[in-house]
Amino acid sequence: MRLIGLGLALLLLQQLLASVLPYAFRPDLLLVFALALGFRARAIESLLIAFAFGYGLDELSGAPIGLYALLRATACLVTHVTDRGLNLRGPWPWVVYVAVYVVVDTLLLGQVLRLAQPDLLLPWSEVAIRLPGSVILTAAVAAPLYRLFKRLDGDEEVPGLAPTALSGSGTL
């Protein structure tokens, strides 16, 4: 329940940021939320939460209904799967992972749009301008958001890999 509250708070915070920040400098808070959900032991529940918040995003944006629902559920799934092979829970691995996933998410968005509605093309020149700012800001908020996420979530996490010297020291 507290996670739902966190998700709603992030949705409103993203709304607030959308009002004050230019398009090129907006962190994707709900993407970080969806990625963090992938660590939880209650995997199916997390997948459904990610899907539901994606649907909310679809409704509150001009996106075709189902687009962000699919992308956020996919983000949760990817973390769930990737976490078994890589240690993502150290501060730096997590930040790098989020940064990389923002790019992956945008590429996925373009591909899904192209497949679902072939007449809609993501303006890649515009993407190239906006993406760096979005990557940097989303990565910057990733670590504190995950700490907050863990504090609020009482659920036991799926055991990930032990942190290594290469992947960063300690967990978030």
Binding site: S19, G56, S61, A63, I65, G66, P123
Partner: protein
């Protein structure tokens, strides 16, 4: 079997969600949600969004109406000069219009298309950086329906794509899902204005031999069954012509500044699909565009 399902339940759950997403993205004729679920989410979220954006509006108001007025005296003087010049220009235009036969046709058009409008305030911006929509604070209670055109004092803003009792979602002209049938005021060359989710739009499917130049004004043609004929869409910025192909393409600068969109008007008129071209030509309403070079 049940063991298999239990083992792969996570993957199965994802596949089900994937199917639901794909079906909702591809099966809807209108890509934006207009169903009861959409109305519910929008209805719940809009008051919260309004609550969040109100402090921002207050800060903007304080800045705009107090702090940013430092240079207002000199600016006021400049504006008085401009107003005087514009008043003179306006007077001459009025006289020219009164003297011309076109004025009568313009008046006829206005009488026939003087659709009622509802003013509305923008209360929320699009949450996604890749789509361009806004939420306005008027909805079905004010007579607004999905598909109605939205304008402001400069020109076309977009169209309503989702409505609740007290709020509506407006897809902006610059969104990549937006398409408007438009023509060049000067040469009457027709094409489709397509949003690009950036500050500019593209003017596509313009016949290669059509006369389109930078600076040309684009108006709605009325053939898309959404926007009435003669509303200003934007101006041609640049032309792109490949060495081959049937069409040429232009980059359009919309007349509306979407960064500072605060107040809009919804035209309370749902338009029917236009008649066959021959009939349309005979019955074409006279527009502002026909009245002269200046809209």
């Amino acid at each position: 079997m049940s063991e298999l399902v239990t083992r792969f339940r996570y993957a199965l759950c994802y596949l089900v969600l994937l199917a639901v997403s794909v079906v909702s993205m591809t099966s809807e004729r209108e890509p934006i949600g207009t169903g009861p679920a959409s109305a519910l989410v929008l209805g719940v979220a809009t008051p919260l969004q309004r609550l969040v954006t109100r402090p921002i509006d207050f800060v903007r108001w304080v800045w705009r109406d107090y702090l940013a007025l430092v240079d207002v005296r000199s600016e006021n003087l400049e504006l008085r000069v401009i107003i005087a010049r514009l008043q003179n220009e306006n007077l001459s235009y009025r006289e020219a219009l009164v003297a011309s036969e076109r004025f009568q046709r313009l008046a006829d058009f206005r009488a026939r298309h003087d659709a009622p409008m509802v003013p509305a305030n923008v209360v929320a911006q699009d949450l996604s950086p890749w789509f361009r929509s806004v939420v306005i604070d008027r909805g079905a209670e004010a007579g607004i329906e999905a598909g109605m055109p939205v304008i402001n004092e400069h020109g076309v803003v977009g169209r309503v794509v989702g409505v609740t009792g007290s709020a509506s979602k407006v897809l902006l002209v610059v969104d990549m899902q937006s398409r408007i049938d438009a023509f060049v005021q000067r040469s009457r060359a027709r094409g489709i204005v397509r949003g690009q989710s950036s500050r500019e739009c593209a003017f596509d499917y313009v016949m290669r031999n059509d006369d389109v130049r930078p600076g040309d004004l684009l108006l709605t043609s009325g053939l898309d069954a959404i926007f009435p004929k003669g509303l200003v869409v934007g101006t041609v910025e640049t032309m792109e012509r490949e060495p081959y192909g049937l069409f040429q393409r232009a980059q359009i600068q919309p007349v509306v500044d979407f960064r500072d969109l605060e107040e809009v008007f919804v035209i309370l008129e749902r338009r029917e699909a236009p008649a066959a071209p021959g009939f349309e030509a005979a019955q074409a309403p006279v527009t502002l565009a026909d009245a002269g070079d200046t809209p």
